[in-house]
Each structure stands twice: as C-alpha cells, then as structure tokens.
Amino acid sequence: MTAAFHQLEADNGLQIIGETNPAAHSVAVGFFVRTGSRDETVPEAGVSHFLEHMVFKGSKKRKAEQLNQELDLIGSSPNAYTSEETTVFYASCLPRHMGRALEVLSDIMRPALRAEDFTLEKKVILEEIGMYEDQPGDMVFDHARKLFFGEHPLGNSVLGSTDSISALTRDQMADYFQRRYQTGNMVLACAGNFDFVEFAKLAQKFCGKWPAGSPRRADIRQTAGNGEFNLRVDGRTTLQHLIVMNAGPPAASPLRHAADLVAMAIGDDSGSRMYWEMVDPGHADSATLSYREHEGTGVYYAAVECEPGKAQKNLDRVHKIIAKLQADGVTQEELDVARTKLLSRMVRGSESPMSRLMSLGNHWIYQRKHISLEDEIRSYKKVNMHQVRQLLDRYPFKRMTVQALGPGKKLKPVEQ
C-alpha cells in the first residue's frame, strides 16, 4: 500500500487526520463524533440518530433544499450513520470536489435545528421505526441487547421508541448537541487522493471556531452478562430468530484480534463450525457468530434463523458448539484458515478510500491513534493458540443471554 498518514490538532482541539493515496480515483471525508445511544438519558432515547437526520436539514446558512442540491453537485450521495457509540457523517467524491465536500459537511455540523424541520423529520423517524419493526431479523438484536445489557446504556436502542421520539422536544436535542458535539469529542478524517496540507488548511478555516471541550462518557463498565432467557412470541413472524450473547474484550484490548479470529473460526457464514454443524446439514437458514467491540466492553453474538420447529435443537447445538470452544479452544488449522479469510477480506475491503476512511476514523475514535492496514495485518498475524486460550480464560463463555423472537411458543432455556 502506498498510503501515508498525516495528523494535526487544530487550535480548538479538533483532531484532523488523513491517509493519502495518490493512486486512488476518489477521496472520502468524514466527521466522526464519539456519541450515540449509550450517551443518551432515558427521556432523550433516540436523540443521537434523530439529530443525525437533523444535520441534513441544514445550517443557518443553508436550508435543506439548497443543501441537498449542493450535496448532489458534489457527486456521490453523502451519508451518515448512528450506532450505540458513534455518529458519523461522510461523503466520497472525485478529487476535484474535495474542498467543496469539506465546506458543506463542516457547515452542516453546526445544524440550525429549525422547529418546522424538527416536526417534519420526526414523522420520517417514526416511519423508520415502523420499517424496522417489520424486520424481525433486525428487531431481535434490539431486544437481545436490552436483555443482555440491562441498565447499562449500551442496551439503549439507536432508533429510540415511538413513545420516546414522539415526546422528544427540539430543546432537548439542542441541549444534547451542545453537550456532545464539542471538538474534543470529534475527529475529522480524510482518505484517498488529496493533499493533506491543503485539506488541513481548509479544515481549520471551516471548523476553527467550533467550541472546544471534551465531554465524558458516563458509563464504560465491562459487562459480564446475566444468563437471562427471553422468548417473545410473535405470530406475524415466519421463522424463529435466536440471539445468544456473551461478553468479550473491549475495543482497547489487545485480545480483540483473537476474538475476531475465534468468531470467524466458529461462526463465519461459510466453512466454520456453526456452518458445518447447522447450516450445511440444513438445520438452520443461517447460523453465525460475530464479535463487536465497544468502548469499555465487547460482545459476541451468535445469531440463528431457522424453522420454528427446529429452534430448540438449534439452540442446543449453539450451546454445545460454544461449550466445546470454551473447553478446547480452536485448532491451529482453524485459526490459520480464519486468519487467511479475515486478512483477505481486509485487504480487499481496503481498496476504496471510503473503507479506509471508516477504518481510520473509527480507530481514532476508539483508540486515539492511527492504525495502518499493515499494523492491523501484523496484529492478526501474531495471534497464536496461547492468545486464544488467554482470551477464553479472560472472557469466558458463561452465563450466556438468550433472546428468541418468532412464532414458536415452546422454546426452553438450555442449562449452562
């Protein structure tokens, strides 16, 4: 790879980082804000995501219609997403449009939050919640997280609920914005074909007057899981959706690479133990294990989708596969194959400036440092059998939380 890393801190504390690759055909730019549903109070549920929508309703300088037209003139549709702990605004475009993309994105990061826009966009959010509720395969994750995290704010739903969104006021949103969108809580990143010196100069011009400050994140406890079991019976659903959750290493842990590899060996969507024991024989339409890192904690999700009549046996299978993993780990061969697959996907996924931007920004948000593709590859290459054992001892699979959603009424918990 020919990418070079650059970094600069603006006078108001805004971090400006970039990875330049002159061979790329495009450039991707984005603001990463360290805020999401875990940073919301109960009456604010869903505000992070709603605010993300309101950003695209424009600033004092630009109203929504003008903004949308300008964004389209930059080329690639800009976009944004909100998770439990980050809110990201990004655009990718041809190199010649970079300056303009940065100006527009910077401008809307100070949204006007006009009352009439707020009322209108609330309707769109309520429709988005409705759409999500029609997708049981997505809803089951929300229920599972709530069950697993309990009172921990990582259990908060990103979308919020119909009730919380209906009750939310513009002032609450403005207050949340003041609290969370301070420069110490944000990073501006850029990747691809661009000139960093010029980029940084423009960034300081557009963002130099933003208020400084580094808001704290309230609760970054490690979660252990509680072994709860919950069955939601929904007669409108056709298949049975199962989620089994367990605690894993946090984003800053050196064991996170081992956790990724273990998840891949046990539950990648092809060639893994769950694939061979559950999908290949036709027991489940899909059966995967994935690992997700968070600040302060991490989680594994085993997710299964199957005919309701097969759910009990499949739940037993998941528990058996995981118990065996906990007792015996993975084989050297499994570890090697998982590594090859993961690294191959990583290199392929890093071809576009957009994917590099995501990696760059998210690593900075979580770890306050630059991790190049080469560094990441090296870390995965270093994972050995000893580290896998360490991982399983330090974050054992026990007291797993089980959430089921579907038409089946008879599912019973498995003794752990």
Binding site: M1, A23, A24, H25, S26, F56, E65, L67, N68, Q69, L71, D72, L73, I74, G75, S77, P78, C93, L94, P95, R96, L120, K122, K123, V124, I125, L126, E127, E128, I129, G130, M131, E133, D134, Q135, P136, G137, R236, T238, L239, S270, G271, W276, D280, P281, G282, A284, D285, E305, E307, V337, T340, L343, S344, R345, V347, R348, E351, S352, P353
Partner: protein, 420 residues
C-alpha cells in the same frame, strides 16, 4: 480547467472467444491488490425443466458441495485457504458464479472454479439439506416485507417465467430429484454464450492462457433460447394482507433495455426521480412531507426489455397519500426537468462510474453484464459520453414516450390502496 481531461481513465482491456464459445473479458487495474471474476452461464431459472421450478437455483447451491476429487468439506476448505470469497446463484436468465481474492491467488481460485463448473460431484446425499435450506430461504423472505413486495411486483409485472422467483417455491422444490439436477448440469452448463470476466491486478496475457488451460476442454452444447417477453399490456395488481406496521408498496412499469438508444435518457429520468438527496421523490415525499423513510425507483434493464421498479414503505394512514404522490411524480417528469437537475444527475452518474475503478469486484461485474447485454464492453469514456448526452430534452422526450402506464402495483400490509 477541463476536469474530464484531468481524470481520463486509460483502460487496459482484453477480450477473446475460446474455440468452444466461452467469451473472456479481462481488465487490468494497476492500483488494486485483488482480482475478482464472474461467470455468466445461460442456465438461469427460465431454463428450469417444466414443473420443476428452482432446479437452476438448487444446482447453484449443490455445485459448491464437492467437485473433482474433492468432497464437500475438502473443496470448501480449499476455497477458504485461498481467502477466496465466492457466491453462486441462479438469476432468471443466467447462473452467476463469482469470486474475489488477493491477486496472487487468482490461478488457484480459477482452478477450483473450473472443477466446480466442469466436474461438480452433485452428491445425492447433499440434495436433501440443499432443498431444505432453499425452502427456509424462501420462507425467510416472509420476515422481510420490503423484499417480499418487490418479488411480488416482479411476478405481477413480467410474464411467467420471467417474473418468477428463480428460487422456485414450496410446491416445486420437493419435485426435484438428483437426476434432474445432474441432467440440468450436463445439458445447460456449457460454454457457448457463456461469459467469464476478470478484473484486478492481473497480467492480461497470462489470464488468457490460464482460461484456455482450464476451460479450453469444456464441451460446448446448445444454449437455451431464453427470450424475454415484454410485460403484458394489462397492469398487474397484487395485495398480501398482513398486520405489518407499514404498508409496503412496490410498483413496476416498462422501460428500455441497455442496448436501446434511449437507455441514457431512461437512466437520466430515473436519476431525476431518485438519484440523490435532491431528487424528486426524496424531496417531495420525504423531505417536504415526511411521509416515509424509504422511497426509491431504479432502472432494471434486461437484454431485450426493461422495467422501472419502485418502492415506498409508509404507515397505513399515510399510504394512500404517499402512493398518489408517487404516481404524480412519476408522471410529472414528462412536463420537463430543470437544467440544474440534469447537471446534478450527470455529476452523480459520472462519480459512481469513476469510483468503480477503485474496486475489482465492481469492474468484473460491469464487464460481464456489458458483454452479456451488448456483446461488447463499453469503455469508461464511452459511458461518460452517454452520461454527457443526457439533457432536459432527452429526459422529457423519453418520459412522454414512456409514461408510467400500464403500471403494476403490489402491496403488503394491513390495508389496500385505491388504484384508479
């Protein structure tokens, strides 16, 4: 500054036809580290034997369960050891087999694909689980009304079998036995009219030699005549009653195929409707009225015909208003579009075109579909000329000649729409 000149893309493309009829198209991308490839074989679901819908799709799954001397597990482990991500599926017209890996593993990856395509084991004991999984996969669509409604609208819009779900259905799948699948492979999986596209950090001469070595002996057969018929004049209607939160609306109306001289005008029109943040559907229905979260249209061109497909999801009380406005916007393009709209559409299309060059997967897919639809590859510069040809006049003329009528509508939800 002439922007276009500064971003001229110099392509290195190689094309050849093997003596058995297999068409190869390859493009060298200097700045990537990967190689991606795709096979299109004219053995899609339209070639399914009568009464046995889903055979092509079942074959595409069963092919991955062992080939040559390698059994199911060993074959898949070999793929995994290369870090090769692959997918196999049956569309309506073609079997599509695709793979992507680091460039240095391309040769070994193609060797495995040659085994899978030419010498799949198609083991009888694997058929039952494959059928079981296919049935579950079809049922899983019930849990995604957004997907389900688009399957339904295709079914209502296109004449059978073009509009049918390539996966078959609960009635047809149990009728498939191993002899049917093996017979289908023997007869239909052959090189004539088949295409292989390869893009990435590859040596074009070596790739030609490699494909000849691996696929030169592939015995040609007779490809089926899969002629797409245009949609019926009578508009289709479908409603599935379900107590969902939203009413999911799918619609379809006729459009031109890729090879048609009006193709870029059609593309421009669809982009005006649904191409970006300032496009008409997003702006009028979501931004100004807050009626829905998701609303879109897309141009779905085939080789001989085409359709514009659309979707909106909205709660029951607002569904009729959303639908009426949707139709109104589709019709209103014929009244003309603004110069600014054309400009935004051109920038959007050109940007996504040039960004393809950063992805071997996107390029291999474009190469294959060009060869399939047109018999040749359009260069990036030719496509840019096509985009530049879009104007207020071409869009409005196209819209007048191709109104959204007859329009097929399908819905899933707690209430029906009134369609005049």
């Amino acid at each position: 500054m002439d922007n276009r000149k500064s971003e001229t893309v110099k392509q290195k493309i190689h094309q050849a036809v093997l003596t058995n009829g297999l068409r190869l198209v390859a493009e060298r991308l200097d700045h990537v580290h990967t190689a991606s490839f795709q096979f299109l074989i004219p053995a899609g679901s339209m070639a399914d034997p009568s009464g046995k819908r889903g055979v092509a799709s079942i074959l595409s799954d069963l092919m991955t369960r062992g080939a040559g001397k390698l059994d199911n597990r060993v074959f898949n482990a070999a793929m995994d050891r290369l870090g090769l991500d692959f997918s196999t599926s049956a569309g309506v017209l073609n079997l599509r087999l695709a793979g992507s890996c680091l460039a240095e593993n391309l040769e070994k990856a193609l060797e495995l694909f040659a085994e899978m395509i030419l010498r799949p084991t198609l083991p009888e004991k694997e058929l039952a689980p494959v059928l079981d999984l296919a049935a579950q996969d079809i049922r899983s669509t019930e849990d995604s009304p957004r997907k389900k409604v688009m399957l339904e609208v295709r079914k209502q819009h296109f004449p059978s079998p073009l509009g049918l779900d390539p996966r078959g259905d609960a009635e047809s799948l149990p009728k498939i036995d191993i002899d049917t699948v093996r017979g289908f492979h023997a007869k239909r999986v052959q090189p004539r009219d088949s295409i292989v596209s390869i893009a990435g950090r590859i040596n074009l001469e070596q790739v030609q030699g490699l494909v000849e070595r691996l696929f030169g002996e592939w015995e040609p057969g007779t490809p089926p005549v899969l002629k797409e018929k245009a949609a019926a004049k009578k508009p289709g209607r479908g409603h599935l009653q379900k107590e969902t939160e939203q009413v999911h609306i799918g619609l379809a109306y006729p459009a031109v195929p890729v090879a048609h001289p009006d193709y870029f005008a059609a593309l421009g029109m669809v982009q005006v409707l649904s191409g970006g943040m300032s496009s008409r559907l997003f702006s009028e229905i979501r931004e100004k009225r807050g009626l829905c979260y998701s609303i879109w249209t897309t141009l779905s061109p085939l080789k001989h015909t085409g359709a514009i497909l659309g979707y909106a999801g909205t709660t029951a009380a607002r569904a009729q208003e959303t639908f009426d406005l949707f139709l109104q916007e589709l019709a209103r393009v014929a009244d003309g579009v603004e110069e600014d709209e054309v400009k935004r559409v051109q920038i959007g299309l050109e940007t996504s075109l040039l960004m393809q060059e950063d992805s071997s997967g996107a390029r291999s897919s474009s190469l294959a579909s060009d060869v399939y639809n047109l018999g040749r590859v359009r260069s990036i510069e030719e496509l840019r000329d096509g985009i530049a040809s879009i104007s207020r006049k071409t869009i409005a003329d196209y819209a007048r000649r191709n109104p959204p009528s007859p329009i097929t509508v399908a819905t899933i939800g707690p209430s029906r729409l009134k369609i005049s």
